[in-house]
Symmetry: C2
Subunit: 140 residues, 2 copies
């Protein structure tokens, strides 16, 4: 459980959604978040999706495409490679047994993919890397 380093610029809904993700020990779907926040006045999916859009834009939340779910960014403290809070491309290892998610960043992979892109004249806007599998703990 991490200390709640909450960006003060967040609106109430955004904070609630972020905190729900931060408290969770795994990815949450938008509808699961909605259920967790009904006691705080949330009534409709759009309230969640709008907050998620902003949090994703801020880099505080990542969407897992292969799961249709969301996680709080694991890289709380600053950046390793410029870009403010952010990082280049982030990759995820998702355990299909315990559904825990490892977030990591691999420069080499990043560079190879950018190199491929430039060689093809392709201008990347967002890159998704997700490894589904079994984590060490579950494999034991």
């Amino acid at each position: 459980m991490n200390a709640p380093i909450v960006n003060p610029a967040l609106t109430k809904n955004q904070s609630l959604v972020f905190e729900a993700l931060d408290r969770a020990d795994g990815p949450l779907s938008a509808y699961t978040i909605l259920d967790k926040l009904r006691d705080h006045g949330f009534r409709a999916p759009l309230q969640v999706y709008r907050a998620l859009d902003k949090l994703t834009e801020f880099g505080m939340v990542h969407r897992l495409e292969s799961l249709n779910a969301f996680v709080a960014c694991a890289h709380r403290e600053s950046a390793c490679c410029g870009k403010g809070h952010g990082h280049g491309t982030v990759a995820f290892a998702i355990c299909e047994s315990c559904s825990q998610v490892l977030e990591f960043h691999d420069h080499e992979v990043d560079h190879h993919l950018s190199d491929w892109a430039s060689s093809k004249g392709f201008k990347p806007s967002k890159t998704t890397i997700e490894i589904r599998g079994i984590c060490q703990k579950c494999a034991a």
Copy 2:
């Protein structure tokens, strides 16, 4: 348009779905496929999803997670790195302007990700790599 190298072991439904994807010049959603095949007797999503599951298992079709859509595999002829028809991990560059998809394979990226996985004791089952962006043609 490629020659129709259709695996004869495919069932009727599987062939129809594969041919629909093969004819298309971009990714198709399951429901789009359903609409294209109504004239051939398709009536329900499950008919499409069941065929897609098998085709994916055979390696003839890929699912694009960030699009919830499917494409025919672009690597018709054999493999570059063992595994029968297949290849290690395939990556995609998806143009957000014209929605064309480039399928490619990058050994280096593959190896870096496997290395990361072994270093963490993570056993990968499926890896997704998708680059969203603008293709050369659309950027011009």
